[in-house]
Symmetry: D2
Subunit: 337 residues, 4 copies
């Protein structure tokens, strides 16, 4: 039984607490949060202790920590926890600053402790089935990948201001999905973004609608579409065109009921947002982490994966600002040792 310390008791922390608690081989031992009421409420629900992050990291009886705190604390906590000998599952992104993330990766790597980055969508059974089909060569060689990823409603402008921007905060999931499916990083990233949904998002320096095109050394192309608002729900679709066919992962619907009337044929909407859509993925993610820790095997998503997606987000941000394609090397080389 792994004893787990959960750092961060916000919305996503609660999702992880549930997965930790339901797993037969892990136990939620302690919870920390800057807002002590949040920590206490969550800890109480699972008969866990409320402690500071420092205490949890220092406690040798804690086997692993799950970092679900604000992004600007991720790197420090990853470093502290790995130095204290803990296995770590950290929410995405690793950091908003690529250089800082790379430094963190180096330090964590030096400790030899396993660190997994929380790209939950890799564990969604639908995307996993898609990847399995592609890996089994059922559609031949990949040629054109398309990812559609729309949130149901835009976040508050105050959130936008600290989010690092759409590319680092939201599209980072899609960058990782491209890396996961294609098993390869792009050469160049070309982005356009706009604040067509809410001009205040634009005034805050961010975009709410964006399209990114990526090119690869072997000629394949990937395109990612993001919107902060799809009033019909959380739109999460992936298409991969190959030399011998097309794979599509379609939306998951709220239910299977179809109503036909004089007004048309009406089906259910996609599940509303990530908690509904990806709860099974969060469970599977946690299970994969526990399995890897117990087996001492490689983490299924690494800190390198987290850095790669962040570098693509950085390149996209620069491309949207400059209006020209940005090479991944332009972004990575200056910060590499």
């Amino acid at each position: 039984m792994l004893k787990i310390g959960l750092l961060g008791a916000g919305r996503i922390g609660r999702v992880h607490a549930r997965a930790i608690s339901e797993h037969s081989k892990s136990q939620l031992a302690a919870v920390s949060d800057a807002v002590s009421e949040a920590a206490e409420s969550l800890a109480g629900e699972y008969q866990a202790e409320t402690r500071s992050s420092e205490d949890i990291i220092a406690d040798s009886s804690i086997d692993a920590v799950l970092i679900a705190t604000p992004t600007d604390t991720h790197s420090d906590l990853i470093e502290a926890a790995t130095r204290a000998g803990k296995a770590v599952l950290c929410e995405k992104p690793v950091d908003l600053d690529l250089e800082r993330a790379i430094a963190c990766q180096q330090i964590a790597s030096d400790t030899g402790q396993p660190v997994m980055v929380g790209f939950n969508r890799r564990f969604d059974p639908n995307f996993a089935a898609m990847k399995a089909s592609f890996d089994a060569n059922e559609i031949g060689k990949a040629e054109l990948l398309s990812i559609t990823s729309f949130d149901p409603a835009p976040p508050s402008v105050s959130y936008v201001k600290v989010s690092g921007g759409l590319f680092r905060d939201m599209m980072i999931h899609d960058f990782d999905m491209a890396n996961y499916l294609l098993g390869q990083l792009p050469i160049a990233v070309s982005a356009v973004g706009t604040s067509v949904i809410d001009p205040e998002i634009g005034q805050a320096g961010d975009v709410d609608t964006a399209v990114v095109t990526m090119t690869y050394s072997d000629g394949r192309i990937a395109v990612i579409k993001n919107s902060r608002r799809a009033v019909y729900g959380y739109d999460q679709r992936v298409e991969l065109l190959g030399s011998e066919g097309l794979l599509q992962a379609q939306n998951i619907l709220e239910n299977s009921v179809v109503k036909s009337t004089a007004d048309g044929v009406v089906g259910a909407k996609p599940t509303y947002f990530f908690l509904e859509r990806y709860m099974n993925a969060y469970r599977a993610e946690w299970s994969a982490f526990v399995d890897a820790v117990e087996a001492g095997s490689d983490m299924p998503v690494t800190l390198e994966d987290g850095v790669a997606a962040l570098a693509m987000a950085e390149a996209a941000t620069r491309s949207a600002q400059s209006g020209r394609p940005v090479l991944l090397d332009e972004v990575l080389k200056p910060v590499a040792k």
Copy 2:
């Protein structure tokens, strides 16, 4: 070029006129109708003559007649036309009276002239693809056939009164579809019917909603559901469960547009009624008739097929009235010579 006489210039006659005229090997030469304005209007559209049915049948330059007159004239016209040496395509049903239909079949058979019955659905490309898959053994042995056939809106009560009833007028298409797909007649027919849509239909001695179950000598079962009203359009679906799979022919929709809003995901309705749904089938039916006439080969749907479907309708009518299953032999034996 086959010269064609069209007997009957009503709604279905107009459909056939178009198919006859569009076909490169047939020409609409003459049109008759009890309502002379209808005949003249249709004839004018296609540069054809307006004549009486008797004249058309007597005209040796006419190669074939298409009978689209009221049902109670079908048998007489089939007999007259075949005796006059014409090929015949006759709309369903052959007759409302089974004994009369069987007599007509005998007389037509004695003339040696080819007669085809207009079960247009056999020529729908979707049902044809379904049959091809079944015949290619793609789902193994047939076990359970289900036909859903709903009209968009009930006919007038005055039509109902002369229609011969739902089983002979509407479900006869589905009886023939069962025969076409399964290649076999049932042993017994069990029907329930109700006038839940419109009590006036019940007062007129007919039903507007009905379910018929049929059993076969090799153990398979078929079930047909009819409703005179599906407010969302013409619902035409067939499912065949076999030992190795299921075949479904689904509805054809008005268009391929899907609209997702906060209210749900809305697709198009099925095409409204048989003219929209089966126009291609009517064209293919006519083409098959022309081909068979030209080649001197067997008709793709025979008068025997028309009699078989009528016998099933008769059995269903009796079953709905008596509340017990009716053997097809009970219906056929007393009228067989």
Copy 3:
């Protein structure tokens, strides 16, 4: 926290153990099974005790029992448990013998203890959404209900021999679904059945493919199709045609991936069987039971519901044997007091 005794540690018992254990207000306290290894294994998984059914029922610290034993013990256990003051959730069917089930219902009713029958499909969110739409009058007045319910593979012939037959063992779920959706019992039941899948099932006195048609006092019709074998998975669909539209609950698929190749467009199969398809329904069923016990409110599915579905199964069995419709009153009146 309700302390629960689970009687029966077979396949369905394990499903319930999981739901009991996951619920925050119930605790699996004790498990019994005629096969002691089964009981011990399951009890060990949930830190519960292994005891005899009699001991569990006699233990005043146990609040409720869940009966998941062989059908021929249900009535006795319901009577014993309710007499011992326990709330009961009993798997379907109540009994194979209608008279015995009615006697049990009377005895349980006299104790005043709440008894719920495990018609899990009522708690499936898809069927629940369908019912909610119908109850909200979104398709008007019900006219024609169709239920398709196919198992992926037939059970062993040895199981068939003790199952009570397809109508009591399998279609009983569909009878209850009809009662749930329509809120009304039929007047007459007409059944045809065949052993087209496996002749040994026929030799064992049962059928493996069946169609039942039911008529109602207000003219509506219901039809249920059952097959013991659909090689593509567990096919569970419901359609309700109303005066203003059609509601369909479609299958739940294994995943949302679609693969298009030169061979066609291939989607996932339906989830394989009831454990996958209805796990959420079992959880919701248990939650509804706990809520009703805690609130002292009416059970969401009653012993009367269990008897009604059994009576319909009895009528269907007699109809399939006699070849004529059987009135529900023919079945119920002789055994009513």
Copy 4:
């Protein structure tokens, strides 16, 4: 009855001949083709004359010409025909050279004769239904348009060499679709292209897979994906995300049959190529042309529309070569008078 001269008797010429001939208000009078056998064969089928293009244009009894000749003759023929007082329907693209196309537009405009460009997809009933829904404000303000347009198989390399390249030959349809749906031209066009399907296409200076992103003055974005090979058929889908919903025009399938077996649930492929997919659109296009000529009203697709799409193709070509976004003004200003 409009007398029509058809210039060009190749594959697309034959499609138009059929539409011209089926229309009740137009008659195919004469056909020309550089390959005289092609002209004769087609003319013979429709009882038309075979003549030279010059003769047809000079014949005052011909009311309109349909230009379906090789692209490099389009501008000259448009000019000649309009100067001769004829109405013109010309296949896309107007020209491969933007400057030439603009000059042609000016000359044709000076004659006052109506010229329509053959962007047939505007007349597809599915895209038309999508536009009608958007124009009726059913999804609010447009934010993100996505067009997927894949051919089933790449053309021969010899065709590629004279085609003007994927952007002018294939994606030009999608540029026009964007203009049609959004009613607005983009500011900037950003393209990536690759020859991942066939390196010989790359050696011929063209691409076979491409993604184009376009930005608009009001912030909306459009993305077009093209591939020369989708082995499952002609993939033609459009999605428009708006402030209040999403519109999707999905593929049209070969038939409505679905087969479920142990291997999965298999549906029909999209119709194979443009002849099958857009035959109805070609008919509707011709009908719209005839209506506009007869009414003397504005052409539903103008030469200006043809020039706009060509300018976007030119911008995309330059962007793919230079690796930077190209403003539409960069392309249009230098050639504007």
